[in-house]
Amino acid sequence: MTDTKTPENETLENYRRSFEAFEKTELCGEGGWLCPERRSAFQRFEQNGFPGSKDEEWRYTRLESVKKMVPKSAATASVDLKTMEPYVLDPAWPRAVFVDGVYQPALSAGLEDQKGLRVMSLAEALRRHEPQLASGLREARLKPRALTDLNTAFFTDGIEIQLAAGTHLEKPLQVLSLFLFAEGERAIHPRNLILAGPGSRAAIIQSFAGIGSNSYFSNGLTEVRLSEKARLDHYVLQQGGSQGFQTARGEIWLEKESRYETFMVSADTPFFRYEIDAVLAGRQAGLQLHGFYLTAGNEHVDQNVLIEHRVPECTSGQVMKGILDGHSRLVVRGKVHVYPDAQKTDAQQTMKNLLLSRDATADAQPQLEIYADDVKCTHGTAIGQLEDDAIFYLKSRGIEADEARRILTRGFAMEVLEKIPLEPVRRAAEAALGAHFREV
């Protein structure tokens, strides 16, 4: 070690100062019960630093701008109902609302109406020493990752959702995160926990919207555990206006015969890295991922998926489609790892990207690692422009060239979006698409 101050060292020093201050606060974990856990996570982070270009999974995505940010934690902010309203997908649905990562009981609604559903802010769970939190933390420690460690060291709030055995959630639950950061650049580390009991069924929408103009770093981590025969539809929806750097990670654990279907819709996000790490741990578990990404300007979106087939007879499917414009970049990586025991695995991957501009870059990397012999695994990628034949077909019906391109591009997107079963979510996704095409 030398004494020269590299930017890297300066970043780590900033984080150290920030962590030392944080350790003295109550938020660290009332009674300090979490502090040892947080301290060791922070030490791991300090040792390893932010992921860099040498890390294969971060080859195309740099966190340089994030490193430059001083990791101040967010102050308590509040917004009025009117500001929130446009982002509420359906007022009849129960919702939990966060502003700058802090739970807002006054904006949330309908969370106590359903039997078998237990929703609690993570701040509250911390105060109550919820045991589920501790088990999740132990899991995270098994595979150290810089951003996970950072989250473990600093998280103060988020949501904990528990579904009792056999609970069928009547209405979808929206978890809305608004980013305001009126006081300037901030870093937040939301932590969420979704525990679906045996045979439970639910649809949960995590949605994000920027309502301010300051930059920020939001580094979220969501753990999802599906017990036997549980079924969860999980939506991750960008509702626009984002001004900052967002990284998020979903760690999904699937028990026997459970099913996880996830819809990821990203549009109008300057920087978004979304990781999914799923383990099919029980026989006949199934996972389906539908991803749709729209990038423009200088936006950078990176979707990184790892699906582990650990046991036999599980299925997984990934359909990821991107539309790229401007100088934007989209990175899509999907790795399927089939363990030696995982016979009769059925895994499919499709990645399609549509380039609307010569200056946009798409990186699509499907990856199969198969150690079992009786499996059905397929993958396919396609990157291209709109087909001349299709444009001509529309023009030959009188449709003007620009309109023809717009219709075809929309069609490309609709192939994914029309699979969204919840209409308000589909409408919000289409609106994001519509807004983009009006701008172009």
């Binding site: 087909e387 001349d388 034949d389 299709a390 001509f392 077909y393 529309l394 023009k395 030959s396 019906r397 009188g398 449709i399 003007e400 060239a401 309109e403 023809a404 219709i407 075809l408 929309r410 069609g411 490309f412 997107a413 609709m414 192939e415 029309e418």
Partner: protein
């Protein structure tokens, strides 16, 4: 309505049409017959304005205007319609959405107000009945996963909705079994009118049993070599194309 004079056209460096002449009046149905490679599809695509084909000589006048000067979309807005031999699949775009966009493009050209979705659905349903098409096809993506027959029927549906003045049917019979052929032909016959001209391009006489033309022209090596009435089609069916080939021409 349409006057084609000495048309020369091709794709890349290949010359395909070599001095094609044809005059079509409103209300007439002209059949263009010819073997593979004679230039039938090139003719259809050149008239529709396909960008891959180049016209090297000749002129085409449509309703007194220079057709070749118009873009493909302008031609369509002015009432030219080509039923594709191989209709393109457009996943993610419903038939209804696509057709309403087309109708509104034509209406915009005529200075007429846009048709809203509800109003249009009414029109579409009526036209679907005309071509005996299941209304469920309105919400299905354009041609995606359609059978050969369904695709061709969908072309005729588009023609029924757009009500062109000049319709060009490019080998509409290809790939159809006899039942599908009958349905498609029935749809076309419903659209015959004194104001509308049609050019039916086909390899086989079979289609002309159902869509009876006023004139039959034989296209060989890029030119019309023989013209006659509907009985010419029967003669071709019986004798093939060889008897008509000029002496010394290669097969």
């Amino acid at each position: 309505m349409l006057e084609i004079k000495n048309l020369h056209a091709g794709i890349e460096d290949k010359k395909i049409l070599k001095g094609f002449n044809l005059t079509v009046k409103a209300g007439e149905i002209h059949a263009i017959m010819g073997p593979n490679g004679s230039g039938k599809s090139t003719l259809s695509r050149v008239l529709a304005g396909h960008p891959a084909y180049q016209v090297t000589a000749g002129e085409v006048s449509y309703q007194g205007k220079d057709l070749l000067e118009m873009s493909a979309e302008t031609r369509a807005q002015e009432g030219v319609f080509m039923a594709f031999q191989y209709p393109t699949e457009i996943p993610g775009v419903s038939n209804a959405y696509f057709l309403r966009a087309a109708v509104n493009a034509v209406r915009a050209r005529r200075g007429e107000p846009e048709m809203d979705a509800v109003e249009f659905l009414d029109v579409l349903k009526r036209k679907m009945k005309l071509v005996e098409m299941d209304p469920a096809f309105a919400s299905r993506p354009v041609n995606a996963g359609f059978s050969g027959g369904e695709k061709k029927r969908n072309e005729i549906l588009q023609m029924a909705v757009l009500e062109p003045k000049l319709a060009i049917l490019d080998e509409t019979d290809s790939g159809l079994d006899i039942d599908a052929l009958r349905v498609v032909a029935h749809g076309v016959n419903q659209l015959r009118s004194p104001e509308r001209a049609m050019i039916v391009v086909t390899h086989y006489q079979r289609l002309l049993d159902y869509i009876v033309p006023d004139y039959v022209h034989v296209l060989l090596d890029g030119k019309i070599v023989k013209s006659g009435g509907k009985e010419l089609a029967l003669e071709l069916e019986a004798k093939g194309y060889d008897w008509i080939r000029p002496v010394g021409s290669k097969v």
